[in-house]
Amino acid sequence: MKYAYYPGCSLHASAREYDISWRAICERLDIELVEMADWSCCGTVHATSVDRLLALALAARNLSIAETMGLKIAAPCSGCYKNLRTAAEALKEDGDLRAKVNSSLSRPFQGNTLVKHPLYILLEDMGLDTLGDLPRPLHGLRVAPYYGCVLTRPASSRPVDDPEDPQGLDRLLQRLGAEVVPYPAKTKCCGGAVLLSHTDVALDLTGKLLKQAKDAGAQCLAVACPMCQMALDAYQSQVERRLGERLDLPVLYFTQLMGVALGIDEGQLGLGRLIVSPAKVLARV
């Protein structure tokens, strides 16, 4: 299996541990990643707020790079994934829109690539039954899966999971031997989109969901998006001050947990880069 890899800005900076751990498990599982040459920022929600057509053009520019490679795209940031996926769908569906956007590009969007999130690459393209015996199953670890918003929304015409009650991350964590903790907020928003402009709003939202996960008995959270991870991990001490309560909930990328279960050396998974240390909870497995 071979993919055009679109890391996105976060995985080259604040979320390098997601990049490191994703590459590490791909190497172990014989998934080949070829980083797209000269990829540009997807624009996130902010470019759409400024100019929807420009946001679509930015996405199309990136999609067309993968098309020249003749590969499907692997996009680990849910924000990038959503932008690239929905742009590809919209441009395929609407010929006028495609013509408008293509007239701005030096290399036109053709509509023959597919955008995939690593979680669903593992679940659909690889399949969990190919994993075999795990060197270090996550037995005894109680994990709250956190999907966030745009991994499963807006719903696609070919949905990979339920938009409001997805199961993919639950299934992966169970396969890794973890005990999956159910809690209602698993697809509720972390407020990442307004984390810097309306920090108090985001802190309210992250506070609610961290508290729910904690009360449900979780020892850590598993996430699939660098914006969610930042809100839940880096801002957790501010949430604790607001709640007047200690949470101490490590927020790991699912790729890091998978790396641990696959027996990959912890030093190769970027665990030390997390703000809330996962050392104590990982010592249990």
């Binding site: 408008k100 701005s104 929304r153 939202l205």
Partner: protein, 194 residues
């Protein structure tokens, strides 16, 4: 159904009958008339408690032509783009996309007065300069534009912790030809005018 007592009271002369079409055109001509004001969107919205109107009333205000009230509203900037409203709308209206269209209209018309509007504008400036995000410059430009030293200081401790964890890039990454993005933006602008 009870009339909405909190709907703004405006004179007919203050209404813009073309507004709903202007919004619809931005999101691919979706017919906003499908909305029957059930309120599932507002009931599903995670930031509803911070909003003045919420998505349900905003939808009604669009249809009534309350262009300026809608475009000046902070509600559209409090939308966190979580798509819960769209996932649940019984009429299949992409309400989160409507909110995004309203934000871009507010930007174009110079009516956007919210911290998130400033953030989005500065974000795109940095994106066009490098082709990729460069957080230190984004934050500096944002806090300067908002003249918000207090907000900056509030996050200084976090910035330091992230720096120590190597989460803040010292130098910007650039794509090979960042001018390409300026050119794309210019051509897109031409498309919209055409």
């Amino acid at each position: 159904m009870e009339p909405d007592a909190n709907l703004p009271h405006l004179m007919a002369s203050e209404l813009d009958s073309r507004f709903k079409d202007e919004v619809a055109a931005l999101i691919g001509g979706l017919d906003l008339a499908y909305c029957f004001q059930c309120g599932v969107c507002s009931g599903s919205c995670p930031t509803m408690d911070r909003m003045e109107h919420g998505p349900r009333r905003i939808m009604q205000m669009i249809r009534l032509g309350m262009a300026e009230k809608v475009l000046r509203s902070h509600d559209i900037w409090l939308c966190v783009s979580c798509y819960s409203c769209a996932a649940r709308c019984p009429q299949g209206i992409e309400i989160a996309e409507v909110m995004a269209a309203l934000r871009s209209l507010a930007m174009t018309k110079g009516l956007a007065k919210d911290k998130e509007a400033t953030f989005s504008r500065v974000f795109v400036e940095v994106l066009k300069r490098y082709g990729r995000l460069y957080e230190p410059e984004l934050l500096l430009r944002y806090y300067t534009a908002e003249a918000s030293v207090a907000d900056l200081l509030k996050q200084a401790g976090l910035g330091l912790r992230m720096f120590r964890k190597g989460k803040i890039a010292l130098r910007p990454e650039r794509i090979e030809n960042a001018e390409e993005l300026e050119e794309i933006a210019a051509r897109i602008k031409g498309e919209r005018v055409a």
